[in-house]
């Protein structure tokens, strides 16, 4: 489960939908991607989970050939996406974070255009377009102009445009940002069905629940680095069995540090602005911390005990919460 240990050896790369090997990229002096490595297998949904600015979109841009990595490589079925032939890009479908559609055209015109651009022609085009629209639940709204559709429906057209050519690898960059729960569930169902059909899916998100719900494996990223990779169960184990205690009130950092140092099995994960988080090794350590807090005379306004999950793992790995 160490971040760099999951990369396929070169001879296997041609069969693996996506191999990302130690890619790095900086915008000026800001390092956006700093040695990211992972692979996505056929039929698998791999999630890149991290806060905004963690480097997820830059990673997708490098994979899809929009940005050349400073070092390392991203291989789609053994080929770099930036290659002149475009052969690897033809096997890839990308759902960008923004709604990248032509608002003046209808949903079906948009999907038809992207289908043609990916080389679908003649008699094969219309069935492919209808299928993509049906999968996105847009069969009855196909002739409406995109500008007239709601945000959720636009997101679905955005997805249909990436599915029309039946790609082997699907890259989804936060495809559910800013939409209602119903539309979100529909999109997640479509993504799951794509994986069931054998497609490899790379899914980036900063929504923990989404990642837990659909991803077979997850890579947790922050500041351009992959901090941990594994299945949801593996990552939860990595988070430990003990709970995380969050508290808010009039609390001094020095007192909290002294408390964490004194109590066995308790560590201070972080504190700022009248809020702090502790990790407890087990239930006994958790009880000791809570008892000590009330006896210390500190004015605690709110106290919350969280069972180990991806949120607590992220907190343990980065010292801060992954906020939606």
């Amino acid at each position: 489960m160490s971040p760099g240990s999951r990369v396929a050896p070169p001879d296997r790369a041609r069969e693996t939908p996506l191999v990302v090997d130690d890619i790095r990229f900086a915008y000026g002096k800001t390092r956006a991607v700093d040695g990211v490595s992972f692979e996505v297998r056929a039929g698998e949904i791999f999630g890149l989970l991290g806060p905004n600015g963690a480097g997820k979109t830059t990673t997708i841009s490098i994979i899809s050939g929009l940005l050349p990595p400073e070092s390392g490589q991203a291989l789609i079925f053994g080929r770099e996406a930036g290659g002149a032939s475009g052969a690897s890009r033809a096997r890839m479908g990308v759902v960008p974070q923004e709604i990248a559609l032509y608002e003046e055209l209808s949903a079906i015109e948009n999907v038809r255009f992207w289908g043609r651009l990916y080389g679908i022609r003649g008699a094969a085009l219309e069935p492919a377009v209808r299928l993509a629209l049906a999968r996105a639940g847009l069969a009855e709204r196909a002739k409406e102009r995109v500008s007239k559709l709601s945000g959720g429906l636009k997101r679905r057209v955005n997805l249909a445009a990436a599915l029309v050519h039946s790609p082997d690898l699907l890259l989804l960059d936060e495809p559910t940002v800013g939409i209602d729960p119903q539309a979100r569930l529909h999109i997640l169902d479509v993504v799951k069905s794509q994986a069931r059909e054998g497609r490899a899916v790379l899914y980036t998100s900063h929504y923990l629940e989404e990642a837990e719900q659909i991803c077979d494996r997850i890579g947790i990223v922050d500041h351009g680095r992959v901090l941990a990779i594994g299945t949801v169960a593996e990552l939860k184990r990595l988070a430990g069995e003990g709970p995380v205690i969050h508290l808010r009130g009039e609390i001094g950092v020095d007192r909290l540090q002294e408390m964490a140092g004194r109590l066995a099995g308790v560590s201070l994960l972080g504190s700022s602005g009248g809020a702090a988080s502790f990790a407890a090794l087990d239930a006994a350590a958790c009880s000791a911390l809570v008892r000590d807090l009330f006896q210390s005379g500190l004015r605690v306004e709110d106290l919350r005990i969280q069972e180990p999950n991806l949120q607590s793992l992220f907190l343990k790995l980065t010292g801060r919460e992954l906020r939606d």
Binding site: L66, L67, A84, G86, R89, M92, E104, L117
Partner: protein
């Protein structure tokens, strides 16, 4: 190769379909140059079915001499033929004339000083003054040139009269005015002198043949026909810029990046964008040429030179737009810089005033603008010019267009390589 051509066509048609889908925006886009031309036509009074006329030369004359000879000048506009082209207002003093010129927007003030007739007829140096109105554009220059011609004619006339000018001066001053015999004798002498000079002067060795291209079947000066080519070029530059702005709009919406992650090269994307812009500019040009012919009776001459000129203008204006949008990073920057540049180029290139009236150094700069060469070519076309007249214009336009597209292409490709497209 076939795949490339198919992809470029697909991307180009997509843009054209988007334009057609938003018909109102397209109509407004195409209407801009037509609206400018229509407004100009209204301003300068040339309407369909009307005989176009040159604007009148409006003069204030301060006749401080007040003799019958100078009265001929002040009364010039009473002549029916002269009144078509001349509007003369009389002032009693120089100051009154200046005030009148300023307030009533006359092109110039002509001051005839006291003793002018006397000096002229007695063979001394005689001078009259022309004060040009700086607030007017072209007509003060016409007044100045007209005054120069008038001075030349008066000098020649005076020399033809010779010693008889003294008799004529005395008659004009009222002495011997009743002497019919003297008048007859003077007339006979003057006729003989003029007739004698005529043997030397006529027929002139060098002649001028003036051909007026028919504008709606009339022989009058069609001001809008002179101005319209400049408006076409200005309008097309605006249309090209507005169309090329779509590149940044696509970047903002993410569709450009989405195209670039498809099996499409950046060259295919850029070329298709240029073709789509050129297509809309070409349609605009056809509409503007048709509007010029139908509404303003402009004769666009032979079809092939016109076609070549139109193609060169479409190519260069599209290149100009590509260059500009390779330099700016936001749509607002494009609108602001584009608007300013088009206006400056139109002013320097002769859309509003002939480049010849500009100072020399501005005329030199003018030659580096698209407008200058495009106007020149179109005006030659309107004047009935042929290939030899427009060859230089077409060559310069082609070189300018290719240079613009080359630099623009390099800039946009560099932006793509940086991941900033």
């Amino acid at each position: 190769m076939r795949r490339r051509v198919r992809t470029i066509l697909l991307l180009t048609l997509k843009d054209l379909r988007r334009r057609l889908a938003d018909r109102l925006a397209l109509a407004l886009n195409l209407a801009i140059p037509l609206a400018i031309a229509g407004t100009m036509a209204l301003v300068f009074g040339s309407r369909p079915g009307e005989e176009p006329q040159a604007p009148k030369l409006r003069l204030v004359v301060a006749d401080l001499d007040g003799t019958p000879a100078t009265g001929i000048i002040t009364g010039a506009s009473q002549n029916q033929e002269a009144a078509k082209h001349l509007d003369v207002s009389v002032a009693a003093t120089r100051e009154e004339g200046l005030s009148h010129m300023r307030d009533e927007h006359f092109a110039a003030l002509v001051v005839i000083p006291k003793g002018f007739s006397d000096a002229m007829l007695s063979g001394r140096q005689a001078t009259f003054e022309v004060v040009k109105n700086p607030a007017e554009s072209v007509m003060p220059l016409v007044a100045e040139q007209g005054a120069g011609i008038a001075a030349l004619y008066l000098s020649t006339g005076r020399r033809l009269l010779g010693d008889d000018s003294k008799t004529l001066a005395a008659m004009l001053q009222g002495d011997d005015w009743q002497d019919s015999a003297a008048i007859a004798a003077l007339a006979t002498t003057m006729y003989a002198r003029v007739h004698g000079a005529g043997n030397w002067l006529f027929p002139p060795i060098i002649g001028v043949k003036t051909e007026q291209k028919a504008a709606g079947g009339t022989n009058g000066f069609n001001f809008i026909a002179w101005m319209y080519p400049g408006l076409i070029v200005m309008g097309l530059l605006y249309v090209a810029l507005m169309q090329m702005r779509d590149l940044l709009r696509e970047r903002r919406s993410g569709t450009l990046r989405r195209q670039l992650v498809a099996p499409v090269s950046v060259a295919e994307v850029l070329l298709s964008k240029l073709l789509a812009v050129a297509a809309v500019v070409a349609v605009s040009m056809v509409l503007l040429l048709a509007a010029g012919a139908l509404a303003f009776h402009i004769d666009w001459g032979a079809p092939l030179p016109l076609l070549a000129t139109a193609a060169a203008i479409v190519f260069t204006t599209t290149g100009f737009a590509a260059l500009l949008y390779s330099l700016v990073t936001t749509e607002r920057q494009g609108e602001a810089f584009g608007g300013i540049l088009v206006m400056v180029m139109s002013l320097l290139g002769g859309s509003f005033v002939p480049p010849q009236v500009l100072p020399g150094w501005l005329q030199s700069i003018s030659r580096f603008t698209v407008s200058h060469w495009a106007h020149d070519a179109l005006r030659w076309i309107v004047a009935g010019g042929g290939w030899s007249d427009i060859a230089q214009d077409l060559l310069v336009l082609a070189v300018l267009g290719a240079t613009f597209i080359g630099i623009g292409w390099a800039g946009l490709s560099r932006r793509y390589a940086r991941g900033a497209l």
